[in-house]
Amino acid sequence: MDTYTFHVQGMHCKSCIALTEGELMDLPEVTHAESSLKTHTVDVTGEFGDRTPQQVAQFLTEPLKRHGYTLHLEKQKHQVRWSDFTYAIPIAAVFIALFIVLQKLGIVNLAGAGQMTYATAFVIGLIASVSTCMAVVGGLVLSMSASYAKEGETVRPQVLFHIGRLVSFFILGGVIGAVGSAFQLGGTGTFVLSFLVAIILLILGLNLLDIFPWTKKIIPTLPSSFGKGVKGLRGTAGALAPMLVGAATFFLPCGFTQSMQLYTLTTGSYLEGALTMFVFALGTLPVLALLSFSALSIKKMQTGVFYKTAGLIVIFFGLFNLMNSLAAAGLIPPIISF
């Protein structure tokens, strides 16, 4: 029986602990394995015959390779794959340029003419999803999608997010309609909220770029219950978080959402209010779903490029929101103006 300590390269998340431990324990030679996210190491106890420590590291790397981990005797330097940026930067640029063109051409002017019907609410939702609201909600969706994909989860948290969003728009829309008063944030509230969203987006974006190891330390870490989900344990707590984030998007600063809430106010009926907000949210679904599930389609190809592209876009949205929130509060002159 020997015990070795190996440095794990590629260990970046809580689910990695369960994953590395599980894979190693599955080997008949291994009797015990314990990973640590803090030190990025794994202690392995087992019967490895007359292999040298170097050979043991290679042997144990085999089952972990497909998950992107490698074991080493020496601590590895954090490696930045700059080559990924060669593709990530232009792809992000095209996306950002498209976003700017859409705003400059006044896509929002297509929304709203005449009577408000459910069809109009749907169209307004569609337009809202490609308007500057995309910088807020879309940024959040994209960063969530890419972050979860890194943890090994792609579909479930995204679906839960959208369910949470649709359900909250229905329920809260109904409440506004019935009660006759909207949840309107004052100037300070709007500023604090947009500022917070901007900071969160910046941190998540930097983390996706994977350049600075320190961003992992400040990241609002996803609860480890998500991580365990990778190994088959599907806790209710894990399901709750993305659903709550989805539900909370009702309150995020977005001009269209607020205008719809104001309209809903005038309906004076629960069902009409609920349906209006629900149909509006349904209108935003196609574009948001596209962002949500972008991680799915690209995963097979260049994961590094995808995360870095997503990171750059999320950072752009973060900066965009930051400057806008400061301009709206009158703290800086408006730099971005459409």
């Binding site: 640029a93 700017i100 400059k104 709203g112 709206a328």
Partner: protein, 131 residues
């Protein structure tokens, strides 16, 4: 330059051209500097009309200083951010009706320098310069 950095430098250049191009070539007609006649006198009052939909138009207005002024904000099926207006210098903040006219009074004392309006999310703005 190191040959290894060449592709990266090229990709940054492409990115800069794409984004720069998007900013330059997609100006709204209202940005092109054409003069819109939106200031008029109604009796003793100076009236300034600004459309609020997908931004504010005109973005820049020049008016006479020291005159009691009425800012007339017009919405027409406006569901975007421009319906949530803030004018910090006179402490005005309101969610405009989707369609309608909202009058904002600016006293003779306040009608000086530049009065800036901005939407709640910050990406649309207008400015009235009192000369």
């Amino acid at each position: 330059m190191d040959m290894k950095n060449l592709p990266l430098a090229a990709s940054i250049l492409i990115a800069a051209i794409v984004i720069g191009g998007a900013v330059v070539f997609s100006q709204k007609p209202s940005d092109s500097g054409q003069i819109v006649q939106n200031v008029s006198m109604e009796g003793e009052k100076q009236v300034i009309e600004i459309d609020a939909k997908g931004g504010y138009s005109p973005k820049l207005t020049t008016a006479k200083a020291g005159v009691p002024t009425m800012l007339r904000l017009k919405t027409n099926g406006t569901y975007d951010c421009s319906s949530a207006v803030t004018i910090p210098s006179i402490g005005f903040r309101k969610n405009l009706d989707a369609t309608g006219v909202t009058e904002v009074a600016i006293s003779a004392e306040s009608a000086k320098g530049a009065v800036e309006g901005v939407c709640a999310m910050g990406m649309y703005n207008f400015s009235v310069k009192f000369l």
